[in-house]
Subunit: 432 residues, 2 copies
């Protein structure tokens, strides 16, 4: 019996097979994400991995359903495993934002799911760091979230030579669109074409753009211009003040595929261009309004009438591209089982007392290993070496029958003798 196609098993290293993923690397990535998010004052939240289907069709229309891991549950509800976190987060924020001081800075590491029939061999789940800020309309918030993204990638050892943030503006594209097309209901279709421009054959894009009344040339000319808007300039200045100018460039070739972005948008790419985007995000000021009952108003090009209306922005960074990139650059640490102390039980008549030592060591917060069953002394010692133990601890009966405790420093092979377990643990504590 095997796992479902598109799902992953995560094993401890060394990995037993090329077909499985490293639980240690995943843990390292999650811990790094959390550490830098905390450094920026972001707090953790989580929501359900299963949501009403409507939460996703509301903002993206019915066509999204073709990509969802959706089904009808036993209570006849149309539900979907979450394809992204932002709608859940917007729902949570809309419900309780007034209880939190602004700006709200939150992060989460959800597992996300999709089901596209046509793409065999492609993963159907991944984990994604989501970091978002609510309640701040100023572009200083956009700069802050982009800095978090940069610092997270730096924390993995990536530099400005490894990756770049391509910064763009959905607002600039929206203005470009409305100057040329009077029908705002077609805007999303237009953004989708622009989003696919780099991956699609030019002739296909040309045809699609022409169908909407746009010329391929005017679109590519706008991208080539690269002239930052005032808003983007403010973000660039902010990043420069922190010494991050080298990490970012204006690039209108980025527009983001999802419908809900309203302002600055950005994607992080490796400079070598070997991978899909490492991360992406932007400002989505209308989403809480939409989730809390608002409707799109074509005249103002915004959403109106919802119970909650709060400026929102954020990004997502998946674990799959990041893992591949770090692996390629040799930036993933090697992981192996380890222990602080190995308790060697060479005299089985002292097993009870040795177990007491194991417990005392663990109570003192040392990771402690020992052989569950009788084992030759050499094998136990060999295991201590494999586990890169800092010390071994063993008990030995003296001539008078009372046991003594012998501690060996595995780096120096020096030995120390103690008359009680307590004394030995005291020694560990003061020498750790």
């Amino acid at each position: 019996m095997d796992r479902l196609p598109g799902f992953r098993d995560f094993y401890p290293e060394p990995l037993p097979h090329k077909d499985v993923w490293s639980a240690d690397a995943r843990c390292y990535i999650f811990d790094t994400w959390k550490k830098i998010a905390h450094r920026y004052g972001f707090r953790e939240y989580d929501g359900p991995p299963l949501e009403p289907l409507e939460l996703y069709t509301l903002k993206s229309g019915e066509e999204i359903v073709g990509q969802l891991y959706n089904f009808t549950d036993k209570g006849d509800r149309n539900v979907s495993m979450r394809p992204e976190m932002t709608p859940t987060l917007a729902r949570m924020i809309a419900a309780h934002e007034r209880n939190y001081r602004k700006p709200i800075k939150w992060f989460s590491i959800p597992q996300l799911f999709r089901y596209e029939r046509q793409q065999k061999g492609r993963l159907r789940e991944h984990f994604q760091l989501n970091a978002d800020i609510f309640g701040e309309a100023s572009s200083s918030a956009d700069a802050e979230i982009i800095c978090l993204l940069i610092d997270i990638l730096r924390a993995f050892g990536l530099t400005a030579e490894d990756f770049v943030i391509r910064l763009s503006s959905r607002r600039a594209w929206s203005e470009f669109f409305s100057k040329r097309c009077p029908d705002p209901s077609k805007a999303y279709e237009f953004y989708q074409i622009v989003d696919k421009l780099e991956r699609e054959e030019p002739d296909v894009s040309k045809q699609k753009l022409a169908a909407l009344g746009f010329s391929y040339e005017e679109v590519t000319a706008f991208i080539a211009s690269g002239e930052p808007t005032e808003e983007l300039k403010a973000i660039l200045d902010n990043l420069s003040a922190r010494g991050f100018a080298d990490f970012v460039k204006v690039d209108y070739g980025v527009i983001r595929g999802l419908a809900y972005y309203t302002g600055p948008v950005f994607e992080a790419f490796d400079r070598k261009g070997h991978f899909r985007a490492i991360a992406g995000g932007g400002r989505y000021d209308n989403l809480t309004n939409l989730i809390s009952g608002g409707k799109f108003d074509p005249a103002s090009n915004t959403v109106k009438g919802g119970k909650v209306d709060i400026p929102s922005l954020g990004f997502g960074m998946g674990d799959v591209v990041l893992t591949e990139l770090l692996k390629e650059r040799g930036l993933l640490p090697a992981f192996s089982p380890s222990a602080d102390v190995c308790v060697l039980i060479e005299d089985e008549t002292l097993r009870s007392q040795s177990l007491s030592a194991v417990q005392t060591l663990r109570d003192a917060d040392f990771s402690t290993e020992y052989s569950l069953v009788p084992l030759k002394a050499e094998k136990q010692f060999k295991r201590a070496i494999e586990l890169k133990a800092r010390w071994t601890f063993r008990m030995e009966k003296q001539e008078n029958g009372t046991p003594i405790c012998i501690v060996k420093n595995m780096a120096t092979r020096e030995e120390h003798r103690f008359t009680s377990i307590k004394e030995a643990v005291q020694y560990f504590k003061s020498n750790f």
Copy 2:
């Protein structure tokens, strides 16, 4: 729009509503689980939250389906959101156990799902620590896993006065059963009745037992005897050697509901009896064999013919009962937003330089907050107090126009002045 019934939203504290759960408490619980598991040398793994339905019906029969969150996916596969982790783990172990040194000691913190139509208001998901040992038949492994369970509960501040491990033996029950009933296919039904004995009306149990040819009196007499088997005695001696005798008692009233247990079984309960079991587990030596193609052999009362056959045992501990218990005992810490340093920007002409200071502080691994937009000095200082910042940092223009850095220790309100950001950060580093 609301979340689905039976699912939880996790918010940062202070909680905005009684209907939501604490993301901070969850993180505290997960971190404690991981910390103690690492102390015992357990390594993390994970598997898919969605599995083929067959993985669960294989060992529990079709009747389990009524409790599963199962559905047919877009590829016409019968799938289920995982109701427990052990079958996934047994699948993973069966696939690659030969690549790992024995005993294999692994843990995971999966989210688990169930869907029982009749139970309104009940949660349909929870998180569960799973810790398991593979490759050790000796009861020293059973003792080790029970010690891990005890130490995890102790790490939350719970004592032998708060909880007890009720230790039993599926093997003892199996012998009890086979002495009185020749039909091993009825064993599981019998265990289920015993499992429900404490929660069911005696008359109902009486009737059910009689239908299988057992008398209620002989069953309750066996439970009352409480005589430990040799195997249980060895476990008790091992626990006593570590000073854990007070945490455990033999109690044949425990048998565990799931079909796959074969040896010692146990459950942790709060001594006041206010809650359902805090944790439960036991030995399930046949499961990898079954998962890898083996079939139940009634003659030997074991599974035979699978590709893999490895001794297995473990336990699960859910987050829901544990959270309720810790809350009741006042053992959950209070959580609030915090920062190491607050950078106060009192002179907006120094915002750029202040941003540079923010970045330098964060690069030095201090969690650092500042106001994204201009804000009155008093409000910024008040925010630093709310965040329990250890220091504030601010820049001030001297008469000659060059800025100096002023660091305030928030505990003593002492101030230090530095001519550069670098010097100030050096001061933080040496005084943290």
